[in-house]
């Protein structure tokens, strides 16, 4: 009973508070792993002995301090390892820490749905449920070879171990808690997203392109403000019937240059060839973000490219001074 999984109940707009809250955890143990946007894992192996309290008791202390110092409530799961702590978190409520009993791990897991395991996403859990393996108990009971046939050799083995309660993971201090609000995490890759909804079903390609242009401009500006570059751009088109089409393209070089982002977004949009599709929203996401100083840039003999980048730089400075709407592309001004 040494690892806690904490989820702070942060309102979405104040995700920036996470680093401070991580600091709170670090008062108990140096082994803290941030799970952005609002969670963290903490290994209390040493702390239990140091404070003379069990992990569950420490969980109460953490909650009290989070409430007192930051005014933020939290839910906490406890378990022998990080995986089990995360499973336990699903059952925890504010004030009630859910702990996995160390000697009855398999029983604890048996009735839980497969999707409760970290690392089992919708696709895997759908596959497993199709074959009747809807609880972890059933997964543990199924032959390893069958599991491997279902979801692949490595994931099958890992799933089988996890479902049997074998938790090989450990808490890895990552220290880097992302300092920006609106920077979300999915699968460990930081992303930046912007959405352009339409009030009615929109079919007009010109209005689509305007939306894309403004979205790409916004993304570029935000990336530059963060000193980041993005490696891939994803376009999601949402339709009236609540379905969506997603296209991802890797940029030729990681960049935060609005013109390059716009070009890529237009390319993806044109490839869809939409005509009668009832578009309700366009979402543009910048993915695989990396620090701007690590980005390379192919120089050319074409002076235009150089000029455009310098104009952009100047425009950014104007925006910094007079607000984000001070300079916009002419196409959006009308």
């Amino acid at each position: 009973m040494t690892v806690l999984c904490v989820r702070f109940q942060l309102p979405p707009e104040s995700e920036a508070a996470l680093p401070g809250l991580l600091g709170l955890l670090e008062e108990f143990t140096p082994v803290v792993e941030a799970l952005p946007p609002d969670g963290a894992l903490a290994d209390l192996r040493g702390a239990e002995r140091y404070f003379g309290r069990s992990a569950v008791e420490l969980a109460s202390v953490i909650r009290v301090r989070a409430l007192a110092l930051h005014g933020v409530d939290c839910v906490i799961g406890a378990g022998p390892g990080p995986m089990l702590a995360r499973v336990a978190l699903r059952d925890a409520r504010p004030g009630v820490t859910c702990a996995v009993p160390e000697d009855a791990v398999a029983e604890f897991l048996a009735d839980r749905p497969v999707a409760a395991l970290p690392g089992v996403g919708t696709a895997t859990s759908r596959t497993l449920c199709e074959y009747g393996l809807d609880t972890l108990g059933r997964v543990a009971a199924a032959p390893l070879s069958t599991l491997q046939r279902l979801i692949g050799a490595r994931s099958g083995r890992e799933l089988h171990e996890k479902a049997s309660g074998v938790d090989r993971g450990r808490v890895v201090p990552n220290g880097v808690s992302l300092p920006h609000s609106r920077l979300r995490s999915s699968g460990g890759t930081p992303i930046l997203a912007t959405e352009r909804p339409f009030p009615l079903d929109e079919l007009d390609p010109d209005r689509h392109r305007r939306a894309l242009l403004s979205a790409a401009e916004e993304l570029g500006a935000r990336l530059r403000a963060l000193d980041k570059v993005c490696g891939t751009l994803t376009l999601t088109v949402r339709y009236a019937d609540r379905t969506a089409t997603t296209r991802t393209r890797t940029l030729r070089e990681p960049t935060a240059h609005s013109a390059a982002l716009t070009r890529t977004a237009y390319g993806m949009y044109e490839a869809l060839g939409l005509q009668r599709a009832r578009v309700r929203a366009l979402v543009l996401r910048a993915e695989s973000l990396a620090p701007a100083e690590q980005a390379s840039h192919q120089l050319t003999f074409d002076p235009v490219d150089e000029k455009v980048r310098r104009v952009e730089e100047a425009a950014d400075r104007v925006r910094a001074k007079f607000g984000p709407g001070a300079v916009i592309p002419g196409a959006l001004a009308a």
């Binding site: 074959y131 009747g132 059933r138 079919l203 339709y239 009236a240 089409t245």
Partner: protein, 1171 residues
Amino acid sequence: MPGFTHLHTVSGFSLRYGASHPERLAERAAERGMDALALTDRDTVAGTVRFAKACAKAGVRPLFGAELAVEPPARVREDDPVRRDRRRTPVRGGAFIDESTPRVTFLARDGARGWADLCRLITAAHTAEALPLLSWDANHADGLTVLLGPASDVGRALAAGRPDRAARLLAPWREVYGDALRLEAVWHGRTGTGPGSLRLAARTVGFAAEQGVRPVLSNAVRYADPGLGPVADVLDAARRLVPIDPAGELDSGAAWLKGSDDMARVAERVVEAAGFRRETAHRLLEQTRATAAECLVDPEDDLGMGSVHFPEPHLVGAGRRTAQRALASRAAAGMVLRGHAGKRAYWERMHHELDIIAHHGFASYFLTVAQVVDDVRDMGIRVAARGSGAGSLVNHLLGIANADPIEHGLLMERFLSKERVVLPDIDIDVESARRLEVYRAIIGRFGEERVATVAMPETYRVRHAVRDVGAALSMDPAEIDRVAKSFPHIRARDARAALAELPELRALAGEQERYGRLWELVEALDALPRGVAMHPCGVLLSDASLLGRTPVVPTSGEGLPMSQFDKDDVEDLGLLKLDVLGVRMQSAMAHAVAEVERATGERIDLDALPPGDPETYRLIRSTETLGCFQIESPGQRDLVGRLQPATFHDLVVDISLFRPGPVAADMVRPFIEARHGRAPVHYPHRDLTEPLKGTYGVVVFHEQIIDIVAVMTGCGRGEADRIRRGLSDPESQGRIKVWFAQHAAANGYDAETIQRTWGIVEAFGSYGFCKAHAVAFAVPTYQSAWLKAHHPAAFYAGLLTHDPGMYPKRLLLADARRRGVPVLPLDVNKSAVAHRIELVSESEGLWGLRLALSDVHGISEAEAERIAQGQPYASLLDFWERARPSRPLAGRLAQVGALDAFGANRRDLQLHLTELHRGARGGGGGQLPLAGGRKTAPAGLPDLSEAEKLSAELGVLSMDASRNLMDDHRTFLDELGVVSARRLREARHGETVLVAGAKAATQTPPIRSGKRVIFSTLDDGTGLVDLAFFDDSHDTCAHTVFHSWLLLVRGVVQRRGPRSLSVVGAAAWNLAELLEVRAEEGLDGVAARLAEPPAQDASAPADGGGSSPARLAGSDGRPAPAGSAARDPMEDRRIRMPTGYEMHPWADLRPAGEGPAVGRKLWHQSPGSAG
């Protein structure tokens, strides 16, 4: 100033384009002082007949024409500067509907020749592959006037500011049409130079003067009244399948049927803008008038209304003789063949009938029908005549009708007499599954130039209107679906009235305001055609001139030639129509007979069954008649239970009594009373004993009325039938009464007898049923009941394969189980494409029913065929490789146990299939782990639980094949104290009971009291429970009954006879919800749910009653027909019949919800269920 004539007007028959009905256009033209009006619908003349009739009524001269898309001539196409590059195929949503082809208006000018040209052009346009397009080669005609408007290629060149190009494009048109060419100027008040702009209109007039082509003025009318622009926008959106774009180009709102003065002002503006003096406007109007005056097509003479055209005699086996001679000799041959040669009465009747036929010259018609029937029979297809034609001995002798009319007392006069001048009507029933084969055979026999099927316009009703308007207004699709499905299948114009009045719509009415303009637009779409389908039974037969009288277009699915006119139109046009009905029951019986022969070698001749089979009648009397033709509905089962038929005649009477007429005139009760001796039999006079004897003195049949009138007045049966037809009209009824009294008195009947007889004639006269119909219906009824009694397994196999009845298949399966027919599961090694029978126990001779592959969800015909061909399969691998099922299909087969024979459990099989699929995709033959030779190795996955298996059966087969789905809920139902259908039979009259089951059918038929009653049938595994909800319970129950699949109902038992039993519902709950509550919260949760007040009450608006008339008065939004607003809404729409029988306005409609429960919906979605 003489009136203006609109030369370019479209009606609603221009699908999703025109917004007004042709009748409305004709009325408005008359109101606005116009003497003539043209109807030029897009690609069709389907509105012609209705338009011509309306014009005749309104006193307006009709002009006929059509607007067609025309392909530019080849030389123009080549130098077209605009190259259209191919667009990428969209990943979603589909491509735009291409409406870029130029459109031109054609007007029929020279009488019949003009009309024939118009028909030919439309037929030619519809031979194009995608949308109708007239190729340039086919674009020539002598009898037509052509209007080149803004949508034509010339108009477009002018709009683009290219008079030079316009001149070049005009040249080929002038070559073809010369002096019959006109340039059409249209001003809709738009700006710019596009269609409808003043500048384009002016350019057109100027261009016409320059080129020496006569200009005309039109308004390109799309709707009759101003203010319908938004409706036109919705129609545009529905046609182009896009939402309305408020920022895009909307309808100008000016395309209405403007009056002469308005058009004169338009003419002035146009000529002024063209640079002429204002006075020249009258010359433009004069040209328009002259063009209209030239177009002379007379509806009677030129369209052929009122004359008849039969196929030529040599085509129907008359050779060089006249048709009448051929008919007489065939009839005589039939006398000998059927053994009537020695009977004098038959000869007399035959000659009498032949006289009548000769009198009308209908001999070719009889020979034509006989020819068709012979051809169908030669193809080995079951065929039977229905309708009044069965009353003719000649039809019997020609082999058209099976029943002997003299034996059954059927009258020729009901069908055809010298006094009747309308076309006789013989309907023939064929097997539904082979209906198209029959059509092709008819076409093959008479040739494409004489045969066409009949169109059936599909019109907007409320659900489609909500869907199309909702999509145009960018509403959320899920929301549209919900709103549309909450409505019963009512007229679109009643949408707001229904919201105000129907209890099951109260929740929706509460949020009515949220949808804004939706309701107004929905009501405006009312009854506009939205598509054209092939009529399910009508076939036109004519002489070789057919294509000159109707345009023929290919049907979308089958590619059969179809006339653009619907069934009423073709009668008016004097086109001979033969109704060839596809009857599923005939297919089902044919399948059953074929199965018996395949499995046992026994040949059953259904047409030669022994009459009066006791077991058959025992079955019918037991009321377990599910699946039997005509007597399976809840009402019929009730009636059969009370009537207890014992002979064929009883069946005939039973079928006749269960018709709206007899039910309305209350013939049922006196008949039942007299039949069981509870009331004495009365005859008004002893002379009338003979006709009324068979029905205990109650008038049931039309034939009896004919006889009564003929006997009392001595006027002859032909005249008597004419009198009978007059009875339904209250005006002529008065005259007939006087006439009847005079003649009867002259024949020596006393006043009291006359009065009593007249009372009967008056009450039942127009509501009886034609006995010939009933006899024709009773034959398949007896045949199907005989099959059910003697070959139940084969009978169910036929029913399940062809699905003829009103009940879902799962109910038939439940019935089969109840009657002891073993239901054998699906098995890829044993099941065939269709349902089959299989010997289960040799000793008892018990036959079981093997489920069919074709019932598996998503199986294609080819796949089913391939699986059946490849049997037997040794292993899963063998099956996969030879039957080559798609992956999802194989998965479904595994789920329902069709692959159980290959070993392993159903989930293991799924895994193997996935791997086989992956292996096949990867190209390398995957190694399948085998155990014990051919068996598939288990993979250790958990098998489907029993509940999951049932769920899979419902999902895949839409049937609970292994056991009844209600069985699983038995414990809960026992806790509630629910009475099963079997135990209900012992319940006392007036007892309050709880019943539960899966909803099998829901109806709101018209009934005598004029109230709306919801009838519903529940199936609980032990039998059927028939429910009735009267209107005092509708507020609380209607929504639940219409929108739930599993129902729990509290009600009172009603008994009307030993076998007649129903439950009058007082409260209803959604059983599926209760089951969930029971599982999650236990019995206390259920109690809490039952204690809640019914949900419907809470949402009812407090002022619901008071506000509804007010809402209705203004609900039209448009000028309402005078006087309608002031009256009480219910009073206005309640349909009153002359007998004092009132019909509830919402009765007789397909109710709300999605019909009876099938498949998945009956089952809760369990988290672990497969697939």
